[in-house]
Amino acid sequence: MLQTRRDLTQQEYTKHIDFLHQQLVSSWAADQRVTSLKIAIQNAKTMTNTEVLQFYPSKFVLSTEILDTFGKLVYERILERSGRPSVDAPPSSDPQAFERNESAKEMCKNWFYKIASIRELIPRMYIEMALLACYRFLSLTEYDTALERLAKMCRGIGDPLIAAYCRAYICRKGMEVSPKLRKHLYIVFEDFCTSFSQLTPDRLQHILRECELSFSEYLALFVPALEWILQCLSHRSSDDTLNTILHWYERCNNSLVLDAVMTSFDPKYVSDNALRFADLIKKADGLGCPQHQLYMSFGLSLVLSYPDKAVLRRILRDHWKVIVQLENPDDFLRCADVYIEIPAKHFTAADVDHLLGDIVRRVGELPTSTVSTGAGSPGAIAAAAAAAAPIVSGAASPTAGAAAPISTLTLEQALPRLQSILDKILTHLRNFSDLFEMRHFLPMVDLFQTDLVIRNEVCKSILTRFAYPGSTSLFVSAVDRSEVLAEATQLLTDLPRVNTMMYFAKSLHDSVNIMTVDDERRQITELILAFVRRWLVSYIANVASFLIGLPGSPDQGPFFILRQFLEALESYPWNNTSDGKAWCFLSIMKALSHLRTNRSRFNYLGVIPNSVLYDSDDRYEAEVDSLLDIIAEQVTAHLADLKREDSSHAAARRATLSLHLSHILNDYFSCTEATGAMALLQSARANLRETSSHLPTSLHALFRSDPSVVS
């Protein structure tokens, strides 16, 4: 009646199973227990059928769902009969309760006697597993014996795939009823390894032919079951567990099993036994799971939980040697994407660079996917073109042209992977200047040339990392800030490096075109600006704002601190190509302007600010004015410099600076009735016009106070 036939599509089959499920529930509700049991057995029988092998893992899921329902119905029925709220509640001592309890026991025994007589092994086991929880009504210790027995009974299943899933169900049920019990898990895994060791393409020849599966595809069908088993085993496992598991694993030395072991167990276990695993990877048979997958899984564990540094270094060295030799460039890049994190996290820039060199070389060897516009087979032409002129960047490639590429991976296809590698390097970068210590960093960035979108992403990542320097601590203390500042100072005085960063910024800037969406445009603008002003500017703006609420020194005058601050800014080695200094001055001007207009609203708790201390003091106001004068002069000088630069980029920078300056002046003069700002206002307006201002509303607001200015 129930057959997974080839002519049944997966949907039809799923529908059919759903129908069975409903039937089971409805016949149970109608008190037709025998019918329900028959449906459950019928359903369990489908687990014997491997006609459409590819479908077996999903069939397992569907069928066990019905079995779980059946188990639940029986369990609840017995519980109801026992009259207890839960099976663990002690039966009360009154005779009626005792009788009900005995009656529940009898009912339970009857179920088990009934299923013990099911002829076929697999349905009998599945039904018993579905009812496993009911053993609790009979005795406290029944689970252990039943689970162990069921685990051993799996050995009677000749088909290794059916046996594997049956074992997975045992583990699952065992977890449900008593997660502490482990003996059956060991039996299950040991047997799994034993039976797995006997799987050979020879032995499976006719199955594989019949199902049109490759040996690897066939082995992959085991993965869900294997993962279930290992997950149960790794649950609250100890070192001993892992030892035992590895001991049995060595019976089959199968790559697929090893990979599942590495991904199921806590990375800490893997890294604690790193050398052993490294050895096992070497010995693995490569069946069902390619070698590079093992390296990846292992690498991931090491990234998540690293062993002793000396061990780590040794493993990195040994494994990288193998990884570099991987023939398929995609496999190589996937591994590299994992392994790059090890030196990036734990070792020096030079170590990262070593890996980077190999990566750049391998990617550089890849053909581009430039499709010929001419007639004929484009693939062949592209391949030929690539072979003739591979894009080689950085180190000369020793193998270029020696052999045809193994895979059809093109340079363009490799770029996302390469981008991920770069991101990992940037994430773990301790010192931005380390990037420039890496000989292969720039050649790597060069590789992104062919893809505009990814290139922009890459530039953004680098600039972001540059604009918001990282610190490994979660909270940047004042000391850290000063260190970062020191680094920034050092970096900004290094002209070639600044030039490089300028190149990224420019590249990003040039990428903006009419198609660029607004926020993207804004983000890019911000990043470029951020590069130009670094976060120092935002930091200084914060300090300037902070100064507004501070009182002056009784001995040294109201602006003692501010003057000191200005001096510090003056002595800072500003880069001429950046607007940083101008932005900092603008910030201080804003603060001063507010002090002068005395509109400042805030003060610190219990601190009397200058604005109160020196309210309407002429000398105080004169000092503000003179300070403002000096600073404004500096800013306008910078604006003049920018004007001479004569590029659209400089014009944009000038416009933004002018606008801010105008804001301040407008603010200032609206209170002080001075008129000297008119010229500046006019020039700002002209600047904004020139650059086809993106902020007409600002202009409007700015000149609102004097409508005559707006022509």
Partner: protein, 184 residues
């Protein structure tokens, strides 16, 4: 569309956690978007916000973990409206309406959301644009406000033609007080 404005959590450096009464309000699946003015401090807080809504935008405050790589400011479209988001420590003076209006114009947005002052405020510019500050959601200490540090946040219901604003502040008795305003 419900948009949560929240910020200046300063967890764990100045405050241990959000008030329980707030946490029980901020349940997953109720809010469509979170705009955070920054100063979360740690990645954990950011992850927490991501549990409230899928769409979370955060800008960098002066005490945020730099490795979070948060932007200085952000423009987000919410229905017909453009929202600007910035922490506000860069604004001189902090929380000043004129300075904020300048930033609003610079970002060219209809609603500017900033924080840093730890004081909830709802203001309008002369152009009728909104300047919102959800205050501090944890009531964390700040040197720059004289107000009592009351935990607060803002919830917006952004519709086609109007924005309804609900400001939540924690009363002395620990019960949230809700104030409703409507724009335009």
């Amino acid at each position: 569309m419900y948009v949560l404005l929240i910020g200046d959590l300063h967890i764990p450096h100045r405050s241990l956690d959000l008030p329980a009464r707030f946490k029980s309000l901020l349940l997953p699946g109720k809010i469509d978007m979170v705009l955070c003015t920054g100063n979360l401090n740690t990645r954990e807080s950011l992850e927490y916000l991501r549990t409230i809504a899928n769409d979370v935008h955060v800008v960098r405050g002066d005490f945020d973990d730099p490795t979070l790589s948060l932007p200085e400011s952000k423009v987000i479209r919410v229905g017909k409206y453009k929202f600007g988001l910035c922490h506000g420590h860069q604004v001189i003076p902090w929380g000043d309406a004129n300075a904020l209006a300048a930033l609003q114009r610079e970002l060219d947005v209809d609603v500017l959301v900033t924080g840093h002052t730890h004081a909830l405020s709802v203001e309008k510019t002369v152009d009728g644009k909104l300047l919102l500050n959800p205050g501090t959601a944890t009531g964390a200490f700040s040197p720059c406000t004289l107000n009592n540090l009351t935990p607060s946040f803002i919830l917006l219901n952004v519709e086609d033609e109007s924005i309804a604003l609900f400001s939540y502040t924690l009363g002395d008795d620990g019960v949230p007080v809700i104030d409703r305003q409507s724009f335009p």
